[in-house]
Symmetry: C2
Subunit: 304 residues, 2 copies
């Protein structure tokens, strides 16, 4: 099957208690595409960068099976830039800079060959841009996944709700689920969000893992407890990319298979945080992934 990923491709300045990285490759779409590339080589990327974005990074994505025809390269613009500094506990960070640059007037244009993508990952962007992408799809999609954040709930709730009504899966964190639904209990929050449109609600809880809700069923995936989280940037996007990449590969959206997809997402995210930027995601092997999935299984399975 084919997977379309939409979102940011960026430069990040990152400071953690363990070091610094400047102009590191980042962006939701980059992380998601790398993660998905471990399951499928039929990925189509739609994003925008400036002339400053390295050609070898575009080639690197192509080498992982990502069709870059949908990447707009704006010759007179600069790539989206984000700078952040993580606190000692790694769960909190301060945003030091957000330069939208070319993202400011991003008008996503899907190449004709992208419109029939069966799986779609709508990375975190303005709801208006996400809707523009949805409108260009040919309607043959099997699963559309939406990622969003509290910022859009604060300033563009109406447009966001229109997008939410059109997707099959939403991924948000626990605080965002509470904000979106007005409910404290995540069970009740998920029920309310189902009624807004998405049949599947995935609530990300960072170091506490993720919850999948659908039709009264719940799956609880832990995150891997790690001795050292080196850089949490992109972990949520990597999780989403691993999740939809596995679904694209298996083309099975049953609840049972979604469980596995969530675990593959957690697995890829656990690698992501072990190094700065996308470094760890460049060269994983199938053995690395299999070994870690076995670890997740040992860590969660019990006999009755």
């Amino acid at each position: 099957m084919s997977l379309l990923t939409i979102g940011t491709v960026a430069f990040d300045d990152i400071e953690t208690p363990y070091g610094k990285a400047e102009k590191a490759i980042g962006g939701a779409c980059t992380y998601a595409s790398y993660a998905a590339s471990y399951f499928t080589d039929n990925i189509r990327l739609c994003s925008i960068v400036g002339a400053d974005f390295p050609t070898e990074e575009i080639k690197a994505l192509e080498n992982r099976g990502v069709d870059m025809e949908g990447l707009q390269i704006k010759q007179d613009g600069l790539t989206f830039f984000w700078a952040g500094k993580y606190h000692q506990n790694m769960n909190q960070r301060d945003t030091l800079a957000t330069d939208l640059n070319v993202l400011d007037d991003f008008d996503p244009v899907l190449p004709a060959s992208f419109k029939d993508s069966k799986y779609v990952m709508l990375g975190n962007l303005t709801p208006e841009v996400q809707m523009q992408v949805i409108k260009q799809l040919d309607g043959s999609q099997k699963l559309v996944v939406l990622d969003t954040m509290n910022f859009w709930m604060d300033i563009a709730m109406d447009s966001l709700l229109e997008v939410i009504a059109k997707v099959d899966v939403i991924t948000i964190n626990d605080e965002e689920a509470r904000q979106l639904s007005g409910e404290y209990s995540l069970v009740t929050a998920a029920e309310k969000i189902h009624k807004m449109g998405p049949k599947y609600v995935i609530i990300k809880k960072g170091e506490h893992g993720a919850l999948l809700f659908s039709e009264g069923k719940i799956f609880a995936a832990p995150a891997l407890p790690l001795a050292q989280v080196f850089d949490p940037t992109g972990a949520g996007d990597t999780f989403a990319g691993g999740f939809i990449g596995y679904l694209t590969h298996t083309d099975d959206i049953s609840f049972e298979n979604m469980k596995k997809a969530i675990m593959y997402g957690s697995c890829l995210a656990s690698f992501c945080v072990e190094e700065f930027s996308i470094e760890k995601l460049r060269n994983l092997t199938n053995d690395d992934i299999t070994e870690r999935m076995n670890l997740f299984k040992e860590m969660t399975h019990f006999d009755l």
Copy 2:
């Protein structure tokens, strides 16, 4: 096998967003004993109450297989009393009153027939009282579990460390694990705590479940996501009681069996919070427990 539970038996005034209970039956030892009673009827309780504690509540515990010979009833004293009010989110609470009463000079005396208990649950009490209990045991114990809290780390760390050195399992929450070890990562925290004595470290994370660490292995148990948490009081003690009750019944302290024990603990805790005080723990059926354990299995298991 035999199980000894030591800890408080108390009256609680509880206020939650869903209602109020006055002079409700509480105390760590009460919750743990009720939870354990679903797995074994060979439970020995050691605690202290005043003459105001209802005889029918003592009988109710006896009817669940709890030997009450170790319960001191101080005729001229009042039972330990705690009052607390939960915030809307149920994760935070204010303590409104703590009247130690008879607990103030509790001198635990184990009946001769209790000293050979193979499993021991040392509920949260001053480290000095916990040590007095350990010294009375005959040395034939198979597993001693310690519960403690940040309060003792603040005011009695040296005595607490002496107790920790003598137990096999410690149960604490994530913030307490960080305080005790001085490490933020729970993996590193558990490694440091192992070196203090306990072979098994159980880190309780409330609504996020619990982690078991032993010899480099990790098990992650989720809590059951609930639409409504009615009263969280005693959930941690119920978890510990279900855990050690199941181990007492099976007499198998392998890591694999501990996983199951942790899940039974989570299962009992999920019932505990559904009603005020110990009400829900009075009359569960085996079918209730089996049904909920199947739910936990569905919620955590995936195929590879």
